[in-house]
C-alpha cells in the first residue's frame, strides 16, 4: 500500500525551478533513499512534503488524504516528521524538553485546562514524560536527558533529532542526511538505528543521503534527482549501474566507460 504519493510536484523560486515534475510513491514500511548531487532539489522536495514550502504545482497524497498546501503543523499531526540537514535542535532546552516539544501535536491540554491544572493535564504530562524517556532510551540518550541539547556531542545531537521527530508518533519519517559528518563507527550505529525505526517501530523511512555505502546497504528503493528532475528510480543494484546516474555524479566520460565507482 502506498503511504505517500507525490504527483508531478513542482516548486519554482522566481525563475529557478528547484523541483521539476517529480512523482514518487513510497510504500508503507519501506526504507527509501533520495539521492542526487548537491543542489539537486532533495531538501526542497522534503520541505514541500512537510509543508514548509507550498508546491507550485502537483499534489501530495499521504495515507489516503490530500495534504497539498496544508500547514506544517497539520502535516506533522497527520504523521510526517523530519530531521534537518544542519542540526536544528532547541539548543537552550534540555534533551528531555526537546523530545517533549516534539510531542506537541499529540498532547491536548488547552489553555484553561492548563491554568486550572486539571487531573487530565497532570496525567497527560506524566504520560508524556514517560514516553519521552522511552524514546530517549530507544536512541540511547536517556542518561543525558537533563543536559542542554547544545552540550551534546555531534552524534548524540543527530540521535536526539531523531528522538524528537519520533515524539510526534509519525507514520513516515524524513531524515535529511542523518549520517553527515559522522565517522565510520558512528555511521554504522546511525544506519543500525534507522533500520530499527522501521523494524521495531514500523515507521516508513525516507532519507536523503550522500554516503553511498549507507544508501546501498539500507535502501530498498532509491530515487535520484538531478537539477530538480527525477532521473532514475529503482532497486539499489539498478541505480548503481544506471548510466544516467553515473553521468550525473561523475560526468559523461565516466558514464561512457561504465565505471562503477558511484559507491566511493
Amino acid at each position: 500500500m502506498a503511504l505517500l504519493e507525490a504527483k508531478h510536484v513542482t516548486k519554482h523560486f522566481g525563475g529557478l525551478t528547484a523541483v521539476n515534475d517529480v512523482s514518487l510513491t513510497i510504500e508503507a514500511g519501506s526504507i527509501v533513499s533520495v539521492i542526487g548531487p548537491n543542489g539537486a532539489g532533495k531538501t526542497t522536495f522534503f520541505n514541500v512534503l512537510t509543508g514548509i514550502y507550498k508546491p507550485t504545482k502537483g499534489t501530495i497524497i499521504f495515507d489516503g488524504k490530500d495534504i497539498t498546501g496544508l500547514r506544517p503543523d497539520q502535516i506533522t499531526a497527520l504523521g510526517i516528521c523530519r530531521t534537518f540537514q544542519n542540526i536544528r535542535l532547541f539548543n537552550a532546552m534540555t534533551v528531555l524538553e526537546n523530545v517533549l516539544v516534539g510531542m506537541h501535536t499529540r498532547l491536548h491540554a488547552g489553555l484553561w485546562q492548563i491554568l486550572f491544572g486539571t487531573p487530565s493535564v497532570r496525567a497527560e504530562e506524566r504520560a508524556s514524560l514517560e514516553r519521552a524517556r522511552e524514546l530517549l532510551r530507544f536512541v540511547n540518550l536517556d542518561h543525558q536527558r537533563n543536559q542542554l541539547a547544545r552540550n551534546l556531542p555531534y552524534g548524540d545531537q543527530r540521535r536526539l533529532e531523531i528522538a524528537r521527530a519520533l515524539a510526534s508518533s509519525p507514520k513516515l519519517i524524513l531524515l535529511d542526511e542523518p549520517t553527515a559528518g559522522m565517522n565510520p563507527q558512528e555511521t554504522a550505529e546511525a544506519t543500525d538505528l534507522i533500520r530499527r525505526l522501521r523494524d521495531e517501530l514500523g515507521i516508513t523511512v525516507v532519507l536523503i543521503e550522500h554516503d553511498m555505502r549507507v544508501v546501498m546497504t539500507i535502501s530498498e528503493r532509491i530515487t535520484v534527482l538531478d537539477y530538480g528532475t527525477k532521473i532514475a528510480e529503482g532497486l539499489p543494484e539498478e541505480i548503481r549501474s544506471n548510466p544516467r546516474v553515473i553521468e550525473a555524479y561523475l560526468g559523461k566520460g565516466a558514464a561512457a566507460h561504465g565505471v562503477e565507482r558511484v559507491e566511493g
Binding site: 512537510t50 514548509i52 500547514r71 506544517p72 503543523d73 506533522t76 499531526a77 516528521c81 523530519r82 534537518f84 536544528r88 535542535l89 532547541f90 539548543n91 537552550a92 532546552m93 534540555t94 524538553e97 517533549l100 516539544v101 516534539g102 510531542m103 506537541h104 501535536t105 498532547l107 491540554a109 489553555l111 492548563i114 491554568l115 491544572g117 493535564v121 504530562e125 542518561h143 543525558q144 543536559q147 542542554l148 547544545r150 552540550n151 524528537r164 521527530a165 515524539a167 510526534s168 563507527q185
Partner: protein
C-alpha cells in the same frame, strides 16, 4: 540543587562553608525568622520617612527573595511570606503611607513585567510597544467611569464604582483582544523588524489617546481624564469591629495594595502554569528556532498570538487598576519610555525568569520612586548646610542615565540578568566549561566502549 550539593561535599571557600552550614538542618529556619523579626521590628517601631527606613524597606523586599530561595519547606515559605506581606506591610502602611504606595507601584510593575516576560522572555518576541495594552486598560475604565462615556454613548451615565470588579475582567479580555489585534500584523516579523513595528504600534495607541478628542471627545486628548471612579470600600465594618479608626485615604491605600498583591499572585500563578506546560515549551521552541518549531508540529500563528494575548491581558487589568488608583490619566503616562522601562525590568531581572522579572521590577521601581529622589533630597539638605555641591546636581534628573549605565554594566558582567532562568544562564555562558557533565561523559564513553566490544 546540584551546585549546592557539591558545595556540601567539598566546601572550597569560607563563603561556601558558611553557605553550607546556613543551608543545613534548622539553621535556615532560625536565620530567616531572625531576619524577618528584625526587619519587621525596625519597620513597625520606627516608621518615619527617611533614608534609614528606605534601607529597611529594601531589606524587607530582599527578605522576600531570601525566603523564595531558601532551602526550607514550602509551607514555611508560604506562611512567612503571607504574614509579612499581608500583616506586617499593611500595618506599616497605616503607620507610614509613603512606602506602601511605592510597594503597590512595585507590585503593579512586577505584574506588567511578568506579562511582557511572556512575550519577550518566553516566546522571544521583542515587543517595544507593550505599554499600549496598559493604556487600553486604563482608558477603558477611565472612560466608562467618568462623564467621557456620555460623549460616546449619548445619555449614558458614568458607571458606578462597583462596576470596577467587572472591569478587571473586561480589562483582561480587552487587553487580550488588543494583544491579538496588534500581534496579527507582526506575525511574519522577527527580531529587529518586530521591535520597530511594535514600537510604532505602541506609539499609535498613545497618539490616538492624544488626538481622539475630536470629532467625538473620547479620550479628552492631551488634558487626560480626571476624577476616575474608584471601587466602593467594603472593609470599614472590619476595621470598626477591630476598633481601629482609619481615614478613607488610608483605607484606599490598603485596598489597592491588597488588590495589586492579589492580581500579582494570580499573574505569577498563571505565568508559572503556562511556562510548565506544552504551551510554555512551544513558546521556548519558537524562541529557539522558529523553523524547527514549525516542523515539530507547533502551530506558529496560534502560539504567537496566544503569547501576545496573555502578555497583554495582564497589562489590561493592571491598566484598570492603575486608572482607579491614580484617578487621573493622560497620554504621556503611556509613552515609549514606559515600555522601555518595563523591558529593562525584564532584562535586568533575567529574561524568561519569573522571580528574576519580579526582582527587576522591584529594583527599578524602588530606584525610580524612592531611592533616587531620597538621595536628591539628602543632597539638598547637605547643600543647605553649606557642603559645596553644585546646585544643578540632582540625582533624580540623572535617572535615565543611571538606568542606561546599569543596563550596560549588566550586559557586560551578567548578560543573563540578576536571577536568570536556569536554562538561559547556561545558554549565555556556554563557552565556559560546563561543571556537571564530566562524570557523565566518562560514563557514556565507557558505555559506548562496552557496546563496541559487545
Amino acid at each position: 540543587m546540584a551546585a549546592d550539593n557539591r558545595q556540601v561535599d567539598q566546601p572550597t571557600s569560607l563563603w561556601a562553608q558558611l553557605r553550607a552550614t546556613a543551608g543545613r538542618g534548622p539553621a535556615p529556619y532560625v536565620l530567616i525568622l531572625a531576619y524577618a523579626a528584625i526587619v519587621s521590628a525596625l519597620l513597625l517601631l520606627n516608621p518615619t520617612t527617611g533614608l534609614g527606613t528606605d534601607m529597611v524597606v529594601v531589606l524587607f523586599l530582599l527578605l522576600m527573595l531570601v525566603i523564595y530561595r531558601a532551602p526550607t519547606m514550602l509551607a514555611f515559605k508560604l506562611t512567612l511570606g503571607t504574614i509579612l506581606l499581608a500583616v506586617v506591610m499593611p500595618v506599616f502602611g497605616v503607620l507610614n503611607p509613603f512606602y506602601i504606595d511605592v510597594v503597590t507601584k512595585a507590585g503593579m510593575f512586577a505584574a506588567l513585567a511578568l506579562g511582557l516576560n511572556v512575550v519577550v522572555g518566553f516566546a522571544g518576541l521583542l515587543d517595544l510597544g507593550y505599554v499600549a495594552f496598559f493604556a487600553v486598560g486604563a482608558y477603558l475604565w477611565g472612560i466608562f467611569s467618568t462623564p467621557q462615556i456620555s460623549n460616546i454613548v449619548p445619555g449614558m451615565e458614568p458607571l458606578h464604582g462597583s462596576w470596577f470588579w467587572l472591569f478587571l475582567a473586561i480589562g483582561l479580555a480587552v487587553g487580550a483582544f488588543f494583544g491579538v489585534l496588534l500581534g496579527l500584523p507582526v506575525l511574519r516579523l522577527r527580531g529587529d523588524y518586530l521591535a520597530i513595528v511594535t514600537l510604532g504600534l505602541g506609539e499609535v495607541i498613545r497618539v490616538l489617546a492624544t488626538n481622539l478628542d475630536r470629532p467625538i471627545n473620547i479620550t479628552n486628548g492631551a488634558q487626560g481624564i480626571k476624577d476616575i471612579g474608584r471601587p466602593p470600600l467594603f472593609v470599614e465594618p472590619v476595621f470598626q469591629a477591630l476598633g481601629i479608626t482609619i481615614s478613607q485615604v488610608q483605607e484606599y491605600r490598603l485596598y489597592f495594595y491588597f488588590l495589586v498583591l492579589l492580581v500579582l499572585a494570580l499573574t505569577v500563578f498563571v505565568v508559572h502554569r503556562l511556562n510548565d506546560s506544552r504551551i510554555g515549551r512551544a513558546w521556548t521552541a519558537i524562541r529557539e528556532d522558529e523553523t524547527a518549531a514549525i516542523a515539530m508540529g507547533i502551530p506558529l500563528v496560534r502560539m504567537k498570538l496566544l503569547a501576545f494575548a496573555v502578555g497583554a491581558s495582564f497589562a489590561g487589568t493592571m491598566g484598570v487598576i492603575f486608572s482607579a488608583l491614580q484617578t487621573f490619566i493622560n497620554p504621556p503616562t503611556f509613552d515609549l519610555l514606559r515600555s522601555i522601562g518595563i523591558l529593562s525590568m525584564v532584562i535586568l531581572g533575567g529574561m524568561g525568569s519569573i522571580p528574576g522579572t519580579m526582582l527587576g521590577a522591584v529594583i527599578v521601581t524602588l530606584l525610580d520612586l524612592q531611592l533616587l529622589p531620597r538621595i536628591a533630597s539628602e543632597l539638598a539638605a547637605l547643600q543647605r548646610r553649606g557642603v559645596p555641591i553644585p546646585s544643578w546636581f540632582d540625582p533624580a534628573q540623572y535617572q535615565r542615565l543611571l538606568f542606561g549605565l546599569l543596563l550596560i554594566i549588566m550586559m557586560i558582567f551578567r548578560p543573563e540578568g540578576l536571577l536568570p532562568e536556569d536554562r538561559r544562564r547556561q545558554e549565555l555562558h556556554h563557552d565556559e566549561p560546563a561543571p556537571a557533565p564530566e562524570s557523565k561523559k566518562v560514563a557514556s564513553v565507557a558505555e559506548s566502549a562496552q557496546s563496541a566490544e559487545g
